[in-house]
């Protein structure tokens, strides 16, 4: 019954948007709740939870297949990647993932999927059509962040205890360079043009900007917030608008996100969100940014143009990852 309802809901919201000629398109926002073993499904126009899906143990990383048909979740404590139909939310299959999958990213062509195995110092390459592990690439201690260049040629993985960004050639599955960054790198994000990789360092408190071609450091963003102790500023999630103008960095227990001019690397604004903000998701039109606030059990919605928070929405316990579908 719930499946039927789910099928109807997106259609309804789409219709209502068209009728109201609302400027914002309706998207579906998926949030993993690490503690609850659920995914909260939000409507980007109503800005409320419209459904909750039970999944495997300790869901963290979440993404969509490149054709948006599948919703994939790293259920870390079940040591697998669960695949759901993104529209009906019906379970499709489980992918072999290697132990303790945390974050993952698709090749731009849609296959394979690259998974960071936090507990096993590996990046696992999985063919998602044939459910086969193609390769295991040994990386540093506690691999986490995963970024891929828009042309699909370079995969970047960060390892939290080794403190490096590993540059991996996707053709050979070999590491061709390692860039030392500040302590506990969590997320690697390519700029839309592929020329840079931004790496957040949670304990180091910085974001390092690396030139893809040379692996040279182009800049390092430091954060300073009045009334917040520097140790509490812990950058994790990084997202950029497709026009390459704005970058957003989640600052963990500083309870804020930083809005950064992606050209000058200058922080232009800090926006107060919920507690221990970790991951970020942009709507496909780059108008709204969703933040997962782990210890306040909510998601904050930020109006990108106005650069301010518009609403916080209660989800499950310890929201971790977020992805927005274009429907």
């Amino acid at each position: 019954m719930t499946n039927k309802l789910r099928g109807v809901l997106p259609a309804l919201t789409l219709a209502s948007v068209v009728l109201a000629a609302s400027p914002a398109a309706a998207y579906t926002v998926f949030v993993t709740n690490e503690k609850d073993n659920t995914i909260s499904v939000l409507d980007s126009v109503k800005l409320e939870v419209v459904n909750t899906l039970k999944v495997g143990a300790r869901p963290r990383g979440i993404t969509l297949s490149r054709d948006n048909k599948w919703l994939l979740v790293c259920t870390s404590d079940d040591n697998r990647v669960e695949v759901y139909d993104a529209k009906t939310l019906a379970p499709v299959k489980h992918l072999p993932s290697g132990p303790d999958p945390e974050l993952f990213i698709f090749h731009p062509s849609g296959n394979p999927l690259y998974i960071a195995n936090e507990d096993d110092n590996l990046v696992t390459v999985v063919d998602v059509q044939n459910d086969k592990v193609l390769e295991e690439i040994p990386v540093g201690v506690e691999p986490e962040g995963m970024g891929i260049s828009p042309d699909g040629k370079i995969l970047v993985n960060t390892s939290e205890t080794t403190n490096m960004a590993h540059f991996i050639d996707t053709a050979t599955h070999k590491i061709f360079d390692n860039v030392l960054v500040d302590t506990r790198p969590r997320v690697a994000e390519f700029t839309p043009d592929g020329s840079q990789v931004w790496v957040s360092s949670e304990i180091g408190g910085t974001v390092t900007i690396i030139e893809t071609a040379t692996r040279k450091q182009l800049g390092k963003i430091k954060f300073e917030i009045q009334g917040i102790t520097p140790d509490a500023i812990q950058p994790v999630g990084v997202r950029m608008t497709q026009d390459g103008k704005w970058a957003f960095v989640a600052l963990g227990p500083a309870n804020r996100i930083a809005i950064i001019d992606a050209k000058t690397f200058q922080v232009v604004k800090y926006v107060l969100v919920g507690q221990r903000v970790w991951q970020l998701g942009l709507t496909p039109d780059d108008k709204l940014l969703f933040t997962t606030n782990g210890t306040s059990n909510d998601v904050t919605v930020i109006d990108v143009e106005k650069q301010r928070a518009v609403k916080s929405i209660k989800v499950g316990r310890y929201p971790w990852g977020v992805v927005v579908a274009p429907f």
Binding site: E136, T161, T162, T183
Partner: protein
């Protein structure tokens, strides 16, 4: 790596090789087909097949075998590899990172019950180039070892002694402390009890010298955080045989009668540094009051149930390696060995002089599953770190508590702060 000075060092050499080999095994374990190409030359047992240009870094773990009375609970009996397993994990972690930088780490362990022998062996190793000494030794031995190594190219990490004097009047410029001091532990607990407003303490102290030191730190914490010690009693306890059939019948009578007639209190604080008797107190008090200090609620650098801040993977890695839970000593040793690894990574160097001086700069920091960067205090070499305030099963909180502020670092609200220190060695 192998020094054939004595039978003991022959064993040591075997141990060290085993450690390197296991590090390689961990790296290449996931797939046999991958193993060949995945195993970088730097991770192979470095003593035999070292790739040209690989930097070799040996860490010396120095253990004084001390006859100690066994702790009361069977659950607290120290395993034979207490601390060693922490060192092995850190060596593995250092090597996983090191293979990207052509750095190879190995562990060499010295053990002796005679402090003079241990110090002589260590000096001999340092004279041959070992620059990093991770020590699990008695306080007096630590001071003597530091003096014996004074002027040499070596740094010592104190991983087990909580004694304040080692950071204060007896501090040495060539010693760092990853073990929290008694005052840090007492302040971590004292802050939380202040937040709870459990202000009136009935304090019970054991008869051993260490108990008195621990009690001093608790008294200091009480004063700092506005508590009142309403009464103190000394618990004179002959340990005897730890184990005997029966025994609870007598204890059930003794503890409440010992606590009878005490001034009104919110909590019973027990200072029993070696946990020889403190665990007799919870649920046996005269008044219905909680127990803290050395039993009940206690402060600690590490707890086997902690999964905060990525701790899950850390605990899992340790359990796979050692087949047991990680203990505070393992954590303190891990942090020491990782400090060397982190310095080597950042400096891309294996030179002891270079790494030791880098570890003294304000830039040096390490991530050690405490949710924030850890640094060493520049006035006495003590590692700043949040401490867990826990029961046997789970942490109740983590100190410093947000209510206590500091002009430089909240972590300096734990323990003796810069303006109060009596350490002069670092000022020179």
């Amino acid at each position: 790596m192998a020094i054939a000075a004595s039978a003991r060092s022959a064993i040591r050499a075997t141990l060290a090789c085993a450690v390197v080999a296991s590090a390689a095994a961990v790296v290449t374990a996931p797939s046999t087909t991958l193993a060949q190409e995945a195993q970088p030359p730097a991770v192979a047992p470095a003593a035999t097949t070292r790739e040209p240009g690989t930097q070799q870094i040996t860490i010396l773990l120095v253990r004084e075998l001390v006859d100690r009375l066994p702790p009361l609970s069977l659950l607290d009996q120290p395993p034979k590899d207490d601390g060693i397993a922490g060192a092995r994990l850190a060596i593995d972690d250092n090597n996983t990172t090191g293979r990207f930088l052509k750095q190879s780490f190995s562990l060499d362990t010295l053990e002796a019950s005679d402090p003079a022998q241990l110090i002589a062996d260590t000096v001999a190793r340092v004279d041959k180039g070992a620059g990093f000494v991770v020590a699990d030794v008695a306080p007096d031995t630590l001071v003597k070892l530091a003096d014996a190594l004074a002027g040499k190219q070596a740094v010592i990490f104190n991983t087990s002694a909580a004694d304040e004097r080692l950071r204060e009047e007896d501090c040495r410029a060539n010693v760092k402390h990853t073990a929290p001091s008694y005052s840090m532990l007492a302040d971590a607990l004292g802050q939380y009890l202040a937040v709870k407003r459990w202000r009136n303490w009935l304090m019970i102290t054991g008869s051993n010298a260490d108990d008195k030191l621990w009690a001093d730190a608790l008294r200091r914490a009480a004063k700092r955080f506005g508590h009142k010690i309403v009464e103190e009693r000394e618990f004179k306890y002959e340990v005897g045989s730890r184990r005997s059939d029966g025994g609870y019948e007598q204890i059930q009578q003794q503890i409440p009668s010992f606590l009878q007639g005490a001034a009104a209190h919110d909590i019973v604080i027990v200072a029993d540094a070696a946990r020889l008797f403190a665990d007799y107190f919870p649920y046996r008090t005269w008044e219905a009051r909680p127990v803290a200090g050395s039993a009940g609620l206690f402060a600690t650098a590490w707890h086997p149930a902690v999964e905060l801040w990525g701790g899950t993977q850390f605990q899992n890695r340790f359990k796979r390696l050692a087949n047991r839970n990680m203990r505070p000593l393992d954590y303190n040793v891990w942090t020491a060995v990782r400090s060397v690894g982190e310095a080597a990574t950042r400096r891309r160097s294996a030179d002891a002089k270079d790494l030791i001086s880098y570890m003294l700069t304000p830039e040096f920091e390490i991530a050690a599953f405490k949710g924030r960067k850890l640094t060493y205090r520049d006035w006495n070499g003590q590692l700043r770190q949040p401490l867990l305030v826990a029961t046997d099963k789970l942490h109740a909180t983590v100190s410093p508590q947000p209510e206590f502020l500091h002009q430089f670092s909240e972590l300096d609200t734990l323990g003796v702060d810069k303006p109060e220190t009596r350490c002069r060695a670092y000022a020179k």
